[in-house]
């Protein structure tokens, strides 16, 4: 696989501009409401905002007090209120209540709503219905893209997953198209576009539509990103459902990385306080272990500590001058490294502790069995026991989904008994969760004689591609079969290994799952990029039942784009996991290309499962 003429991957483009753009626009919008004002911020927007601006920049633009938008009356005494929100009906009602309460008490203030990333007509309708349309002014903060790291851009829209895949709502497709437009104008033009999935196709079409009518003032500019690959999350649920074992994925599964930073609690910091740590390429320690299989992280960290010790020890033989140099030049760096090292060692310990408590080893074994398709009965009873013991409800659900999706649904007897026990263990209201999971196709029941023939899949594709979408539910559920086993065989996702898989020196992307499974999503991307299209993958496409496409801009031929042709923007609609990011980073290194990730949000099995639960209104 590693070619002899291995080229280094191009450096990623500088995405700092995106932050700067968002910041400047926000400032501009704040200036539109001159004078002192109180700012109400949607909780979901706080962390993203944190990454591009800070309190003092808000203060500079006459923001007085900051509040979070929540279901409580606003205590603000300012004469001007500004709301920085996501376009949600619930939030509109809250704002309307604030305005109407003021009206009742005869108080007059100015109100401004800033929608991010865009305003929805439904929101304005609510404002109109509540009788406050006209009392508030509305603006849009086109904050579509938050660079989380040098190669990760997030739209920070976790609700995309539920809205599109469960509810079938296309509301975010326009946001995706605009995000693509912005990236294309800054780092494009992209000369090749590939994609698979209905949402991918729609986003692509809407984006092209937007491009067509905008003047192409990007002509003649040297592109930095040459390829783009769009993929729907439902093309590959399996990968997202697997336990993560690369370091960054494990940290996410264990501590939840939020907007690129993580709160390490006292169990990690070995003190009485928590520390908020930014996890990205700037962290010298983290950047070296983030993509590694967990088993090789310990060795690395202990090697590092020994080196660090040695460097400290050099002080012993120093004279005054050398010492002065040491203190002024090296000490700060060493101290920083020391701090980071101890944090990550602490994190590792904490992960180990938690995982051993959860029978992690056994769980991984079951997952691998499911992926390979043997010992299904044993796996089912493992899951059952997991449920009976009231171990984490999320984990139980995740394992059931993995069983279902790898087996094309549970056999009815299993479905019934596992569901009953789940409801008994974690609460009857999860009946609604099960319904959602069935609807989205993550947890289904096999019905007799249900196999998708080639004809059927072609027909259903034809029908569902139609604008009016006149399809029946029966067709829909038929189209949602995962066909994982067949796809896995076709793409050889389960590597055949003679002897031990060397996790320290991996030879393929399967290392992100201990050498047991190559992530399907990444494999598809690899194959399509290699073939420069879908030729030869027809059977896989049929099994995936996705709307694949490949477009090439005629103008640019081989070599014309230079480095940009080796930069690929991988767009994940519905979220991507750190394991997938690690796998593609590995592929990039092998092939001398650079992957940039654009995702609607960073996701994980737990986030996906949580998105399926019904919450109180």
């Amino acid at each position: 696989m590693a070619s002899t003429a291995r080229r280094d991957a191009p450096e990623p483009p500088d995405f700092g501009i995106l932050k700067r753009l968002a910041r400047d626009q926000l400032i501009y919008l704040l200036e539109q409401l001159p004078g002192r004002k109180d700012l109400f911020i949607e909780p979901d927007l706080m962390s993203p905002l944190d990454r591009i601006a800070n309190v003092s920049v808000l203060k500079q633009h006459e923001v007085d007090k900051l509040y979070r938008v929540e279901n409580r009356p606003a205590p603000s005494s300012s004469d001007q209120l500004c709301f920085l929100v996501r376009p949600r009906v619930r939030t509109m009602r809250y704002i309307a209540d604030v305005v109407n309460a003021d009206k009742m008490s005869g108080r007059s203030r100015k109100y401004k709503i800033i929608f991010s990333p865009q305003k929805f007509y439904a929101c304005e309708m609510v404002l109109e219905e509540e009788g406050v349309f006209g009392d508030v002014t509305c603006d849009e903060w086109s904050f579509y893209l938050l660079p989380l790291d040098e190669d990760i851009i997030s739209m920070e829209l976790p609700e995309f997953f539920r809205d599109y895949f469960l509810e079938g709502d296309h509301r975010w497709i326009n946001s995706v198209a605009r995000a693509l437009q912005l990236l294309n104008s800054l780092y494009g033009p992209f000369s090749r576009a590939y994609g698979i999935g209905r949402c991918a196709k729609m986003s692509y079409e809407l984006w092209r539509d937007l491009e067509e009518e905008s003047e192409s003032d990007g002509q003649g500019r040297k592109p930095e990103i040459g390829n783009i690959f769009l993929m729907d999350r439902d093309m590959d649920y399996v990968t997202a459902l697997c336990s993560q074992v690369v370091y960054e994925g494990l940290v996410d599964d264990t501590f939840r990385i939020k907007c690129g930073s993580v709160d390490f609690g006292p169990e990690v910091t070995s003190s009485d306080k928590s520390i908020k740590v930014l996890l990205n390429a700037q962290d010298k320690i983290f950047s070296q272990i983030r993509n590694e299989h967990f088993s090789s992280v310990f060795g690395f960290l202990s090697q590092k500590s020994r080196n660090l010790q040695a460097q400290y020890d050099r002080r012993q033989g120093m004279d005054i001058k050398q010492m002065k140099n040491f203190v002024s030049q090296e000490l700060k760096g060493l101290k920083q490294e020391h701090r980071l090292l101890s944090l990550h060692i602490g994190a590792c310990e904490s992960i180990m502790k938690k995982k051993t408590k959860q029978d992690f080893q056994e769980m991984i074994k079951v997952e691998h069995a499911l992926l390979e398709g043997f010992d299904i009965r044993e796996s089912a009873s493992f899951i059952e026991e997991h449920i009976d013991r009231q171990v984490s409800p999320i984990e139980s659900l995740r394992l059931m989904c993995l069983l279902s999706i790898t087996e094309n649904g549970l056999i009815p007897k299993d479905y019934r008994s596992l569901k009953t026990q789940y409801l008994q263990s974690y609460g009857p209201e999860h009946l609604l969760t099960f319904h959602n999971l069935k609807h989205i196709g993550l947890l289904t029941e096999q019905t007799a004689g249900e196999t998708l023939t080639a004809v059927e899949s072609r027909v259903s594709k034809l029908v569902t591609d139609r604008a009016a979408g006149k399809i029946t539910d029966a067709f829909n559920s038929l189209a949602k079969k995962s066909n994982f086993r067949a796809i896995s065989k076709k793409l050889s996702l389960i590597p055949r290994v003679d002897g031990e898989y060397n996790l320290k020196m991996p030879r393929d992307m399967a290392y992100v799952f201990s050498g047991a499974y190559t992530p399907l999503s990444c494999k598809i991307i690899e194959q399509v990029l290699e073939r420069r299209g879908w030729q030869g993958l027809e059977e896989v496409v049929r099994l995936l039942n996705g709307s694949e496409f490949a477009m090439a801009d005629g103008g640019l031929e081989e070599g014309a784009g230079g480095d940009a042709q080796r930069v690929v923007l991988a767009v994940f609609l519905g979220g991507c996991t750190f394991s997938e990011i690690a796998a593609l980073r590995f592929l990039g290194k092998e092939r001398g290309c650079r992957f940039i990730f654009l995702t609607t949000a960073i996701t994980s099995s737990a986030r996906m499962m949580e998105a399926m639960a019904e919450a109180k209104a």
């Binding site: 700092g16 975010w172 169990e267 569901k419 009016a468």
Partner: protein, 493 residues
């Protein structure tokens, strides 16, 4: 052209289209274009120290009256019911409240001051007071180039396109059903859910619901949007009518059942659930709903009794182990645990007895044993544990049996700090030799280890194990005698 522009200006400022117009204050497209221009001019001057910004955090700042980051975390951890229970079950990190106050030394204002070193670039704050520097901010006004001839009859396609770009569009003139449907189909073909919903809002207001429903039945994408919209705005009655019209009876039932999540008062919730039993659920789900109702009914009775008992202070168990939370709205297994904890010995006749729960809800044996074991072990009632795992056959012989496997039994007992004597009795019963050895070694059940090695005739391991037991202890003696015995027996070969 200029005539048309004047018309358009008039249009924007007139209010007669208010009813069905949408605000047109900003125009994404032109913004993007302006941003692009701004960015191109910024490129050369944006330097790398942007990353310093990332160290800036809200947390250090005294933000109004609220402690900023605490709430931020609090909101995320209570956002989902699944997550909530997760943490309560494995009482994990409770440290959110202790976020440090890091007073940041970086601020954006510093950064801008820094920028002043570059003579060519005015600082951002300057830029805003200075009209000449307007390029640095994404422009919100529509550039002239965007103006198109205003006409009152855009085609459905153009109407949709304009709406996709966030522009004002009157939908009033789409009056015939035909026109409305063409508009809807165009919106769907345009892939923008926001516009699809906007058109649906218009259709919903201008069409009788039966007509709308009928047309949506053959337009699945639009239908999904309307259903989602009704869910979000809470128009439950209309939603149910729609689902009934579509013959989606199961969804009707689930959608109604869902409302129980918002009922706080338990009595009301119980009544509501009672009503749910008659809803058109699938045959399988109806029993779950029935169970949900019965469970809550039981919990209300148990809760009333136990609160009384606890208050009276007569019952020893409640005095010794005061209840941490009410049992209301807990899952069945948790309720069973509770009842095994507080009401283990009660006769089957009472609602709170474990056997009654087991019977009523047909709890499988495995589940029952697992839960009862955990409850009794927590109370360190080792005789109960013993009784629970003992079965008598028809001859009167007793035998230890565990439907969950003895390694689980050991694990549960160990977690509750069972003494070694108790623990080793069950470690001994673990079938798999390797697991047994592992557990026995881990929990220092020396006798079991020694006996297992004896049975395996593993001299070497036995010798190695000698250093793990206390010098001069009974265990050491046992090993010694075994070793000498083994020597003798092997001599014969």
């Amino acid at each position: 052209m200029s005539r048309a522009r004047a018309d358009e200006e008039e249009y924007w400022h007139s209010s007669k289209f208010r009813a069905f117009t949408f605000d047109d204050e900003d125009d994404e497209l032109s913004q993007l274009k302006e941003s692009k221009r701004a960015v191109n001019s910024l490129r050369d001057i944006v330097d790398d120290d942007d990353d310093d910004l990332e160290k800036v955090s809200w947390s250090g700042e005294p933000v109004g009256s609220i402690s900023w980051s605490i709430k931020e975390t609090a909101s995320s951890s209570s956002s989902s019911s699944l997550e909530g229970r997760d943490t309560s079950l494995q009482k994990g990190s409770s440290s959110y409240a202790a976020l440090p106050k890091q007073v940041s030394s970086y601020s954006l204002s510093n950064l801008f001051k820094g920028r002043n070193r570059l003579p060519s670039l005015p600082s951002l704050s300057d830029a805003f007071s200075d009209t000449g520097a307007k390029n640095y901010a994404p422009e919100l006004r529509r550039p002239k180039a965007e103006y198109k001839d205003y006409s009152n009859d855009w085609s459905p396609r153009d109407t949709v396109r304009r709406m996709q770009r966030g522009k004002v569009c009157s939908l009033e003139r789409f009056r015939s059903l035909q026109d409305k449907l063409v508009l809807l189909d165009e919106a769907v073909a345009g892939h923008d859910g926001n516009v699809i919903t906007a058109v649906l809002i218009f259709l919903k207001r201008t069409l009788r619901r039966e007509v709308l429903f009928r047309e949506l039945e053959v337009r699945q994408v639009a239908l999904c949007h309307l259903i989602h919209f009704l869910k979000e705005t809470g128009e439950q009655k209309l939603l149910l009518d729609l689902l009934r019209f579509l013959d989606r009876t199961e969804e009707v039932a689930l959608s109604q059942y869902r409302e129980h999540l918002n009922i706080q008062d338990v009595e009301k919730k119980r009544e509501f659930l009672k009503g749910c039993i008659g809803l058109p659920f699938s045959a399988e789900d109806i029993s779950h709903i029935q169970d949900h109702y019965t469970l809550l009914e039981r919990q209300i009775i148990i809760e009333a009794n136990d609160r009384h008992l606890e208050m009276a202070g007569q019952s020893e168990i409640f005095r010794k182990y005061p209840r941490k939370a009410s049992i209301l709205n807990m899952p069945l297994v948790t309720t069973l645990f509770y009842s095994c904890f507080y009401h283990y010995t009660e006769a089957e006749g009472t609602f709170s007895s474990p056997t009654n729960l087991k019977k009523t809800f047909k709890i499988p044996d495995k589940q029952y044993v697992l839960t009862a074991l955990a409850a009794r072990a927590k109370l360190r009632a080792w005789e109960d544990v013993d009784a629970l795992l003992t079965t008598k056959n028809w001859l009167g012989y007793t035998k230890k049996k565990a439907p969950i496997g003895f390694h689980r039994v050991v694990e549960i007992l160990q977690r509750n700090n069972a003494p070694v004597q108790v623990l080793q009795e069950y470690v001994r019963l673990v079938d798999d030799v390797e697991t047994r050895l592992n557990l026995a070694t881990k929990y220092k059940c020396h006798d079991v280890v020694i006996d297992t090695y004896r049975d395996l005739k593993d001299r070497i391991q036995l010798m190695a194990y000698k250093c793990k037991v206390e010098r001069g202890s009974a265990e050491e003696e046992k090993i010694n005698s075994l070793l000498s015995n083994m020597v003798r027996s092997t001599c014969f070969f």
